[in-house]
Amino acid sequence: MSEVLVVVEATKEFGVKKVTLEMLTLARELGTPSAVVLGGAGAAEALSAKLGEYGAEKIYAAEGEEIDGYLVAPKATVLAELVRRVQPAAVLLASSQEGKEIAARLAVKLENGILTDVVALAADGTATQVAFAGSTIVKSKVTKGLPLVTVRPNSLNPAPAAATPAVEQLAVSVSDADKLAKVVERVAEQKGSRPELTEASVVVSGGRGVGNADNFKLVEELADLLGGAVGASRAAVDSGFYPHQFQVGQTGKTVSPQLYVALGISGAIQHRAGMQTSKTIVAVNKDAEAPIFELADFGVVGDLFKVVPQAAEEIRKRK
């Protein structure tokens, strides 16, 4: 079977990201998964056990300052060389900013089609995408070149399948043309140990109804009790209640968790665009007419400052 290249997303803090495991699971249905690690020195070594656990038969690694010290151009160059050499059945990347950017450059280098935000990929290359804020389902195909797709996190359940991958170090010779955008500083701003927003299976979000930044503690408390990530509506972010990187919606992150809890969020189209493909939606809002209730599998019309603390207490009791 042909190789399927899976470009690994990982963080220093948490290692291999869940979307990578999802991609390896998907790749096993299309061919033989090979993981591609593009990162700093020693990156592959730290990730190889986990990648093997989910079926990577091989790991290609391109590491060092030449790769890591610049925005995506060097990564795309190395990946393009690898694709030309191994002629894979497909190339999968995460539908994150970086994944899409590497894929963008790869598509131009190879004059190859690209499909983003893919939620399923069949063996014949037919991809399923969700468009227009989850309102339209699209079937599409790359018609020039190989299937080059970016996979949306939480699209499938990652399943382990043990393999013992051999690591092949790729020669890294990056030209000056790929070193035009230099990363001079990386600043970590992690918010505790909560899961990453787009990958979390539970997301608890707060909106304008939360009232102020301090009250977001209530949202965080419920998120922690449910093992979830914290999100915020654009209204809450614009009002300065919570940082922008946690914004869910048309101009923020798109999430598709098992459970989405909307607290004090009216459910404007702007917000729905980022969360309406969630499996189960629960809402608390004092306005019985709020559009969020049109989506919610369970809705409580009431004061979130009474309902949420009571819910938190009830969860603690049951634990």
């Binding site: 699209v138 079937k139 018609t143 500083e185 989506l295 309902v307």
Partner: protein, 259 residues
């Protein structure tokens, strides 16, 4: 500094949007077509740079005839002129071929700096800045929440999953911006009147030296095979809190095995 801002006309994301049943492209006929929201932040950033450092701001749009409305709207914010790439053969173009056309147009405009929105609200594909940069052989600084111009050196701060990165490049470069970067100005009455007289140059594929077969459905590198509307979600149970709302919420979560 010679700045070009990429502006895309998109169907209003605040209303119902559809693909056309005949060819699976975005249905612009039935939609309220507006400037892609993120592009307004790109225009604002360009105007701020011009105000601080001098130069000229040009709007570049690829799109059908009706995109003219969005171009005038963009000009009413203050840019100097616009270039509209319009050609019937472009209908059905994919991202890869669109980047080829935009790169060809930019090749004629001699921009020091190309600014665009980080994504469009219709496709949300986010690939255009890097595709264009790859074709032009210039730097791409994407997803900026802050942009500083110091002579020919550009510095951006960009949000990442873990925090933020500071990235630098020299002009010429492509910069894409998120809506956290500034607050776009509203067009003044004077701006709206002035926009009517500002030059809008139209360019065809012939003007750009791009063959029709390279673009549109013929040149596309991907194809939409079919599309279906997702059935709208229907609301489930809705209760009014009478002192037990929190407990009932958890009971629901328990039946769904989240607790």
């Amino acid at each position: 500094m010679n700045i070009v801002v990429l502006v895309k006309q998109v169907p209003d994301s605040g209303a119902d949007r559809n693909l056309r049943p005949d060819d699976n492209t975005v249905d612009r006929g039935s939609a309220n077509n507006v400037i892609n929201e993120m592009d307004e932040y790109a225009i604002e950033e360009a105007l701020k740079i011009k105000e601080a450092h001098g130069g000229e701001v040009t709007i570049l749009t690829m799109g059908p005839d009706r995109a003219t409305e969005s171009i005038r709207k963009a000009l009413s914010m203050g840019p100097d002129k616009a270039v509209h790439v319009v050609d019937d053969a472009l209908h059905g173009s994919c991202a890869v071929t669109t980047s080829k056309v935009l790169a060809a147009a930019l090749g004629q405009l001699n921009a020091d700096l190309v600014i665009c929105g980080a994504e469009s609200t219709d496709g949300r594909v986010q690939v255009m800045p890097h595709m264009i940069a790859e074709r032009l052989g210039v730097a791409a600084l994407t997803g900026a929440r802050k942009l500083t111009v110091d002579g020919a050196t550009l510095t951006v701060e960009r949000q990442t999953e873990e925090g933020y990165e500071v990235v630098t490049a020299s002009t010429p470069a492509v910069v894409s911006v998120w809506d956290t970067i500034n607050e776009p100005r509203y067009p003044s009455f004077k701006g709206i009147m002035a926009a009517k007289k500002k030059p809008v140059q139209t360019l065809s594929l012939g003007d750009l030296g791009v063959a029709p077969a390279e673009v549109g459905f013929d040149g596309a590198t991907s194809a939409v095979l079919e599309h279906t509307k997702r059935p709208p979600r229907s609301g489930g149970e809705k209760i009014t809190d009478e002192g037990e709302g929190g407990v009932k919420l958890v009971e629901f979560l328990a039946t769904e095995k989240f607790v």
